[in-house]
């Protein structure tokens, strides 16, 4: 890790952006395919080989549609809101590491856009700004369903953001840092139990934190079974009701980017990021491991959507405040206690 010329940073950032946007497009395809399998269907097959061109076709369709603005809408806010979701989702990628400093063509290259001291909090912060896209979009539509979706979203996001943050505190206590790069490389160390050696992934030392994080991450991204703000069956897609064409697509894409970012985030924090067999030898292998972990996570997201029914609103809030929050605090206390034992401050 070290300083590098600014142009290398630009190149790395550009590369990551490209990968993200492409993968976002193909995540839609991935979801449709997997969901179809769950429902004993085939999913898209016509467009290209195995429907691989379907995302492009969708993009063309959405861009070609008319951009409708309702009369009752607050025009400026209505036009502006989808951008918030989309950009803040992309912004989170700035602190997620894809590896350490590597040698490419004889130059030192940092495989992360930036490594700030408060990386983990940065992702939480961008996530908390992202919710304005939903709230403002819902409010500005001038539609009751949308407004209800927005209000639900506001309550839901505030609650689950708390749990998301709390579930990470255990890791901060163990590592003593909030820098995602540092946290990831902590997990590259090997723990040895006699003849066995396993990677020090925090999912092993923080199982409760991991479970809490996953639940909160699903809620943060408004995915099933926590998709109350957009609940099609009760709110007619909630805050997105009045949106069409490219602005609708922005929401849609923002949601998928959020999913990917959350998956990356979870992989980095709990599953060792790029850690895996051979990752120390060749950085490409590390990226491959990371992508695999993200794929597994996305699969999990889709799996949840395919199997679980939606929560009722009071169940959602009750779960957050009465179950998850106490558990998160318990996790913090227990972790801090073990940390004190480790420091020899207790016994």
């Amino acid at each position: 890790m070290g300083d590098q010329p600014i142009w290398i940073t630009f190149i790395v950032t550009f590369a990551i952006m490209t990968v993200l946007l492409l993968s976002m497009a193909y995540t839609t395809w991935y979801e449709r395919k997997v969901l179809a399998r769950f429902q004993d269907r085939l999913g898209p097959t016509r467009t290209g080989k195995a429907g691989l061109m379907q995302p492009l076709a969708d993009a063309v369709k959405l861009m070609g549609k008319e951009d409708l603005v309702p009369d009752a809408a607050d025009r400026n806010v209505f036009l502006f809101a989808p951008l918030i979701t989309f950009t803040t989702a992309l912004l989170s990628a700035a602190v997620i590491p894809w590896g350490g400093t590597v040698q490419i063509f004889g130059t030192d290259v940092n495989l992360y856009p930036t490594d700030i001291n408060v990386g983990a909090l940065f992702i939480l912060a961008t996530g908390s700004i992202g919710v304005y896209g939903i709230i403002l979009g819902g409010w500005s539509s001038g539609n009751r369903y949308s407004l209800l979706g927005a209000i639900r979203s506001a309550a839901q996001v505030i609650s689950y953001e708390l749990i998301l943050g709390f579930s990470l505190v255990g890791i901060f206590i163990i590592t003593g840092t909030m820098s995602l790069t540092d946290i990831m490389f902590k997990q590259h160390e090997m723990l040895s139990f006699g003849p066995f050696e396993i990677s020090n992934w925090f999912v092993l030392t923080q199982p409760l934190g991991f479970v809490l994080f996953v639940i909160a991450a699903v809620a943060e991204t408004n995915r099933a079974p926590f998709d109350l703000p957009e609940a099609e069956s009760e709110l007619v897609a909630g805050f997105m009701t009045e949106y069409s064409a490219m602005r609708f697509a922005l929401y849609f894409l923002g949601e998928y980017i959020s999913m990917i970012i959350m998956s990356l985030f979870a992989a980095t924090l709990f599953l060792g990021g790029t850690s895996g067999p051979g990752a120390d030898k060749f950085w490409g292998l590390g990226i491959m491991w990371l992508v695999l972990k993200v794929m597994a996570f996305l699969f999990f997201y889709i799996w949840l959507r395919a199997t679980l029914p939606r929560f009722r609103f009071d169940q959602l809030m009750g779960l957050a405040w009465k179950v998850l929050l106490p558990l998160a605090i318990l996790n913090i206390v227990v972790t801090a206690f073990f940390r004190l034992i480790g420091n020899g401050q207790v016994f």
Binding site: D74, V77, I116, N117, V118, L121, F122, L124, A125, G127, S128, I129, V131, Y132, I135, L136, W139, S140, L147, A150, I151, A154, A155, V157, I158, E161, G165, G176, T177, M178, S179
Partner: protein, 236 residues
């Protein structure tokens, strides 16, 4: 002109413009959005000053929590009941502007004529880096030197939350524990019984006004419609 100055100019201009927007927009939602923008720029200024933890915290706490709550509240309020833009008295408005202008001038003078502190504290940038960064430095100072203040702050938060819950409880609203029934009316009508209200009541009650407790509530039954309402008994 350094890049820093450029960034500073951009951030602060955005911040002040958004701040003006908060004051000037008529719609509270627009004000809130402007405030979000202002706060994001404040956070950027914090980062420029080497306080990235506070910057992130500013966003998480203010924009992520407080302003979402504000928006939540705005959406709960009936938009037709929003008050007018300005406070009533023109004198108040005029005086406010004058006071603001004088205050700005005074602070400006104070800033220009101030002398910089010569002492340099222990937390130079190198020192902060050695401690592991801004977060660690704040943590160490806050939990050692300001441990008591930290505890008091948590107490203040607890009290605040409890207070908010108590104020927001629906039970605070007037919920009558007394139900009054007039036997002098036919059900679902405000007309009196045709043939003598007092004598042809469908129920036989021992007095003109009969009070009987039913669970936590009290039911008052009256024969005479004039005794139907009794001051001070509905909200007991």
């Amino acid at each position: 002109m350094s890049w820093e100055l450029v960034f500073f100019a951009v951030f602060s201009a955005a911040m002040l413009l958004c701040g003006l927007g908060v004051v000037a927009f008529e719609n509270p939602v627009h004000s809130a959005v402007a405030l979000v923008g202002s706060f994001i720029n404040v956070a950027a200024l914090f980062v420029m000053l080497g306080a990235e933890f506070l910057g992130v915290l500013q966003i998480i706490v203010y924009t992520g929590a407080v302003l979402v709550l504000v928006l939540f509240t705005i959406m709960l309020i009936d938009p037709t009941k929003l008050p007018e833009f300005y406070v009533g008295a023109p004198l108040q408005r005029f005086a406010s502007v004058v006071v603001g202008a004088i205050l700005l001038a005074e602070i400006g003078v104070a800033i220009i004529t101030r002398t910089a502190l010569e002492q340099i504290g222990p937390h130079t940038e190198a020192m902060v880096q050695q401690m592991g960064g801004n977060v660690q430095a704040i943590g160490q100072v806050m939990l050692s030197e300001y441990a008591l203040a930290f505890e008091i702050a948590s107490l203040v938060l607890t009290v605040g939350v409890v207070g908010a819950v108590v104020i927001g409880l629906p039970n605070r609203m007037v919920e009558p524990n007394t139900v009054t029934m007039s036997l002098g009316h036919t059900r679902g009508s405000s007309d009196m019984l045709a043939a003598g209200p007092k004598f042809e009541s469908p129920m036989n009650i021992p007095a003109e006004r009969y009070t009987a407790p039913v669970g936590e509530r009290t039911v008052v039954m009256t024969k005479d419609p004039d005794a139907y309402t009794h001051p001070g008994e509905t909200s007991k």
